[in-house]
Each structure stands twice: as C-alpha cells, then as structure tokens.
C-alpha cells in the first residue's frame, strides 16, 4: 500500500495555473465595515434610495448577529478568525467601462480573460454562450446582450438591473435568501457590489447558455456578488458560473448570494465550476468561499437543477438548495467536491418539500486527497403539506491516500407519511489493486488516478453542458495531479 500512497503524494504537487495578477489601476474604498462604507458603495454605484435602505437594514442585522452569535460554527471546518474591519469592500478597475461596448474595457482586463480562456470578444466566443465578466467588484462586460434582448431576455450586471429594471429587483431581491438568512447572507446584502441579473420572459426558451465569469484580482479585498435569476412562466434558462483568483498569501473572502426563482412550468439549470485559488500545499492563502445559493420553485411543475464542481478555495461552505413550493415541482443537486492538500469543504444541499408530489434528487461525490477534509451535509425536509413527495439521495466519498478525511451528515425530516425517501451512501478508497490494474494496461499512475476519479464523478459530469464537462474533467485532473496538459 505504501507505494500507492507515495504515488498519490507525488501527484499532490499542485500547480494553480490561474494565479497571475493583473496590473491595473483600482478604485477602492478604505478598509473597514460601517454605515459610511455602505453609503459610499451605494453612492459609487449611483443606486436609488430603496437599495441603500435595503443595504443599511442588512448591515444593522449583520452587526447584531456579529455581536450576539458571530459567524456560524456548526460546519465541520477549521476557520482562522476573520477580521471584517481589515477588508476593503469595494475595488473596481479605475477606467470605468461603458457597459454597452467592449471597446471601452481596459485592454489589460480583456487580456486577463483571454488568458483565462474566456475571450470577451463576441466573435471569438463559443457560439451559444453569452458571458458576463465580473472583475473584482464590478461587471466589466456582458456579451450578446443585443441578441438576447430581441427575445426579451434580460442578461446584464446587477448594477445595471438596479438602474434599468428596479421593479423586478424590488419584487425579487431577497425573496429567496433574505438578509436575515445567515451571517454571510447578511454581510453580502450590506456590501454586495455586483453580479449578474437574468430575466427570461414568459414562454421563452433562452437560446444560448448564459455564463458569468468571476475573477478576484485585487489584494486584501473581498468579493461579494449577488446573482438573481428569474424564469417566468414556461421559460427555460441554463446558466454557467466560473471563477478563479490570483495566488496570494492571505486568505480572501468570497461571500456570494445566488437567488433563483422559477414560476409555473419554468426551468432553471445552474452549473458552477468553482476554481478559486485553494492555497498552497501548507495551507497558506486561498479563498474562503462562503456562499448562499438557493432556488425557489414557486410555480407548479417548475424545476431547478444545481450542478456544481468544486475544486478550488481553501474553505468551501456552500449548500445550493431548493424550496419546492409549487405542486409537482422538481429540485436537483449534483455535486463533485474535491479537497486536496489542506483544503476543507463542507458542502451539500437542502431540499424543502412544500407542494404536493414534489420530487428531489441529490447526487454528491466527495473526493479527498492529501490532508483534505470533505464533508457532505444535506437536509431533506418533507412538510405536512407535501403529499406524495419523493427524494432520492446518493452520497459517495472517495479517499486518495491515508491522511485525508470524508464526513457525511444527512438530516432527514418527514412530516407526511406518504413521502418516499431513498438514501444511499458509500465510501471507497483508490486501492493499490485498482491502480495496478490500470498501470498494467499501460496508463501512467497520474492518468490511472485521473481515470478512476473521473469515473467516480461521471453521474455528475453528465449533467454539465458539454464544454463545461470537458473543462471540469481537465480541472479535476489538474487539481489532483499538478501538471496534466
């Protein structure tokens, strides 16, 4: 067995390819968190009064929480204390881009996205994917807006939506994740700086994948974005989210909120490939990824599907969830979470069944390598009203080497006797016999591990859009091995 462990240890030499820093002028607010800072952020963004009030309200709530209970401690994570006064809550590239024209985006930023493999030039993009690019605190470019507008699809930065579509924002902002939801959601509501907004009107099937690419660049800043997606009756949208950050020695905070709303017969598919900087081998630096994602199946026959591939971040705290309110609505959660070196992840989902005949599926694949600690935490709640509800949960852990850990915390609460619940769980280890078998057929140890891990994740990868699935497979390879082309 020792040789297997050595092989794996060799593979754990991780190389983070997205760790470069872009040298641009930043406009940033002073460090610290107080009402003045929130007013400053709101003013920089030229927000209407209702937004400022909403933010201040959240900030007051956050201060109360910070004083009375502090950050949540129930997760299976070891988190160094965070000094919230030592963070700058707003950083934007100085040359303020006009949102309608790519020509006016700082060429340095365009080059950054080019380097990341996300060219913002519309001609160079994969046809069929529209991109909103968020650089530090602001959205710098959104592609294919014109084409989408023809169909009535709104896809823009959150800031722009606040200006141009205040009614939709007023109606839906905080309707799924109120600022009182949790500590990080309150913080986000107070200081969030940008993000994406999507509205797909009645009966429209969004003709292309919508995608947001988040990039943290500035040092000693946090990123607090907010995404809101509304699919009106009978609408369909598939949304992709990607993220990277430079290599920095300090831990950086990322506390995002995503809210999804699906009305009658609407469908939202939300896919994430999260590749924030994970820190170095000894666990120095890396992103603290504390994210609240939740979707509400408000209408009958609506469906919300989350797919996530989490390979980055020093710490991941994230539970994309579904509130199944409409009768016959469907919630899905497919997840691959990988922790290598000193990474920690506590991730899973909540499925709250309220409507009749609501169905949910949970498939979670956790991979631990190095000293990584990987926790699945999932809640399935069947309320009294949810007659005929069904849930299927499958929760598998794969261990690589002998120093990592996998943990599973399922919570199941059933208040209606007609519910049908299934729960399957497994834990396995990449064994010397498996590796030897693959190597005996001519595959290198690296490729053998990669193949076994990809096979393990297959049921999740097949839920991802094609290009993303290929990307995810490669990313998994790199995250495990250090240097696979």
């Amino acid at each position: 067995m020792s040789s297997t462990v050595d092989t794996i240890r060799g593979l754990a030499e991780q190389d983070y390819k997205w760790g470069f820093i872009t040298d641009i002028d930043e406009d940033r607010v002073p460090k610290g968190l107080n009402e003045d800072i929130v007013r400053l952020i709101s003013a920089r963004k030229g927000e209407p009064e209702f937004m400022l009030e909403w933010r201040l309200n959240a900030l007051r709530h956050w201060f109360r929480m910070a004083k009375e209970e502090g950050a949540p401690t129930w997760a299976n994570l070891t988190i160094a204390p965070i000094d919230y006064q030592n963070i700058s809550y707003y950083s934007a590239p100085k040359k303020k881009p006009q949102l309608d024209s790519l020509d006016q985006v700082d060429p340095e930023i365009l080059r950054t996205y080019e380097k990341l493999g996300i060219p913002l030039n519309e001609q160079k993009l994969f046809s069929g994917v529209a991109v909103d690019a968020v650089f530090d605190s602001v959205s710098v470019a959104t592609t294919f807006k014109g084409k989408l507008a023809e169909m009535g699809v709104i896809f823009c930065s959150f800031s722009e939506a606040v200006q141009k579509h205040p009614d939709l924002i007023k109606k839906y902002l905080g309707s799924v994740v109120p600022h009182t939801d949790n500590f990080y959601a309150a913080l986000n509501a107070a200081v969030f700086t940008d993000g994406s907004f999507v509205y797909v009107p009645k009966g429209v099937r969004c003709p292309m994948e919508l995608s947001t690419y988040f990039r943290i660049n500035a040092a000693e800043t946090g990123q607090f974005e907010r995404t809101l997606i509304v699919a009106d009756e009978g609408a369909y949208v598939s949304y992709l989210e990607g993220c990277t950050a430079p290599i920095r020695d300090e831990n950086q905070l990322h506390a995002a909120v995503v809210e999804l709303i699906a009305l009658d017969n609407a469908q939202i598919k939300y896919s994430t490939v999260q590749n924030w900087y994970p820190g170095d081998k000894e666990g120095r630096g890396g992103i603290y990824n504390f994210v609240t994602k939740r979707g509400k199946c408000l209408g009958v026959n609506s469906k919300i599907s989350w797919t996530q591939v989490e390979t980055g971040s020093a710490i991941t705290w994230k539970y994309p969830s579904c509130i199944l309110q409409g009768d016959n609505s469907v919630g899905e959660f497919y997840s691959v979470a990988l922790t290598n070196n000193r990474q920690q992840a506590d991730t899973g989902t909540k499925m709250i069944h309220i409507g009749k005949n609501t169905r949910s599926t949970i498939v979670s694949k956790g991979i631990s390598a190095g000293y990584g600690q990987n926790t699945y935490r999932g809640q399935v709640k069947i309320l009294k009203s949810a007659t005929g509800a069904r849930n299927y949960t499958q929760c598998d852990s794969l261990l690589i080497g002998d120093r990592c850990g996998a943990h599973t915390f399922p919570y199941i609460e059933v208040r209606n006797a007609t519910a049908r619940m299934e729960h399957e769980a497994s834990t396995s280890k990449i064994g010397e016999n498996q590796l030897f078998y693959l190597r005996q057929r001519g595959l290198t140890a690296e490729n053998a591990v990669s193949m076994i891990v990809n096979g393990f994740c297959k049921t999740v990868f097949k839920e991802l859009p094609m290009e993303f699935a290929v990307e995810a497979q490669k990313l998994l390879g790199v995250s495990l091995e250090g240097s696979v082309g």
Partner: protein, 256 residues
C-alpha cells in the same frame, strides 16, 4: 535472444520469501504452462513480471527482450509488451469498457511514438474481437467489469489482450471459476492469438485448461522453485499423481 529470461529470481511479499531462486526461459512463439499447488508462488511470479510494486525482488535478474524488466514500472512493462490477464479483474465504475481499452491502446501507441487511434478506427476492431469471444455488444459501454459475471470478466481480460497485442501474455489462473463453455471460448481467444511473435505463460491449477490450450512446455512450481519441466504429457501425468514427490527427491530442473 530469448523473449523472457528469468535467472535465480527471489521475491518477497511483506517480508515472506515466496520465490526462492526461479529460473525460466521463454522464446517467442512458445506457450509455457506453470502448474503447482496453492502457495507455491505462481501468482507471485505473474505479479513480479507485471512489476507490481508490493512484491519485492530480493535477488536475481529478468531480461525481457534484452531489457532489464526489474527496472521497469508497471506501465513501462505494459508498454514494452507484457500483459497480465488478472485472476481477479478489477472494477472501474463510471469508465466505459471500450473507452478504457482505447485509452490503454493509445498509451502504448504513444510510448512507441505512434499516432493515437480515434473511436472510429477503434470500434470496428473492438467489436470484431468481441465476436470471437462471444461477448454481448452491450458490454461496449458498460463500466469496466462492473456487474460482470465471473465468466464475463475473464473474457474481458482476453478481449483486452486481443486488443493490446502483447509480446508476452501471462494468464493468471484464467480458468478458475469458469464453466466448460466459458473455458472453451476463452481458449479460442487465446489460440487465435498464438503466433511466432508472441509467447504465453499460462498459470493454472488444473490440467483442464490445457485440454484446450496445448502448451509447448509444462513446468511444476513448488515452494518458489521450478522442480520439474517437460512437455504437455507432464500435465496429464500430474493429473494422475498430483504434484507428487517432495522437492528433495527430484533433481533440479533445467530451464526449458
């Protein structure tokens, strides 16, 4: 030059010496059978030749095609042309059977500086060889060995061998757990591959397999050494007499 030349091979597992001075020479085109009682070191020999790292070679030398086999990693030995049909084939959930074999073929082709095969070139060949082994088409996209019956797993090993076209094929108790029909099919697959450029090392407990795959040489392995060598008739004799007299009564056999 011999294809495989084993000289005075000593090997241990977890500190126990299993092979205690084994000598054996195989030439291309020959089929050798190794027989012997449980625990005599048959599977250890197979594992050492495939370079399994949990087996430690303490003495001796093995040349494969003139190269030092004991210096090779498992994947290097595989790429040089050593194939082991496993006694207990491993399951790989989520990886399709055909995809796996093609990946292996391409790894080997890459090692030899050849172009990779795409799915279009690969699949017809794969399906044709599946037919010889009377395997169901459904197995093409099923995960490697997952949910396969014992017989299907063994046939799948032979199918992989047929695709990878090794120089030396080691069959480690491929007959164990096979019914007579499966045994016949497996033997058909092996016989189809016999040829002047390839050697087989057929490890078996029973003479039964050798009714279908006629060896050129039979060796008896007892307590980590080859104690007798002969032609196919030796297998029949063993069937009657068992592994017979103790090592001390038998003169040390010479390499074949």
């Amino acid at each position: 030059m011999a294809l495989l030349e084993i000289q005075d091979l000593h090997a241990s597992v977890e500190g126990h010496e299993i092979l205690k001075g084994l000598n054996l020479t195989l030439n291309a085109g020959e089929v050798h059978s190794i027989m012997g009682p449980n625990g005599s070191g048959k599977s250890t020999l197979a594992a050492v030749l495939a370079r399994r790292e949990t087996y430690e070679v303490t003495r001796g030398r093995v040349l494969f095609n003139g190269k030092d086999l004991l210096e090779m990693k498992p994947e290097d030995a595989a790429c040089e042309g050593v194939f082991l049909a496993f006694q207990y084939p491993v399951e790989i959930p989520g990886i399709g059977n055909a995809y796996f074999v093609r990946s292996a073929m391409n790894a080997i082709r890459k090692f030899h500086g050849q172009d990779e095969l795409d799915a279009m070139d690969f699949l017809p060949l794969y399906k044709e060889r599946m037919k010889i082994l009377e395997m169901d088409d459904k197995l093409v996209n099923r995960s490697v060995n997952e949910g396969f019956s014992g017989g299907e797993k063994k046939r799948n090993e032979i199918l992989q061998m047929a695709m990878l076209e090794p120089k030396l094929a080691i069959l480690d108790e491929t007959d164990s757990g096979l019914d007579i029909d499966a045994l016949r099919i497996v033997a058909k697959g092996v016989n189809a591959m016999r040829g002047p450029d390839r050697a087989f090392l057929v490890i078996t407990h029973y003479q039964r397999l050798l009714d279908y795959i006629t060896p050129d040489f039979v060796h008896v392995l007892v307590d980590g050494k080859i104690v007798r060598s002969g032609g196919p008739e030796l297998a029949l004799e063993l069937e009657d007499t068992g592994y017979g007299p103790s090592e001390a009564d038998v003169p040390q056999a010479l390499p074949a």
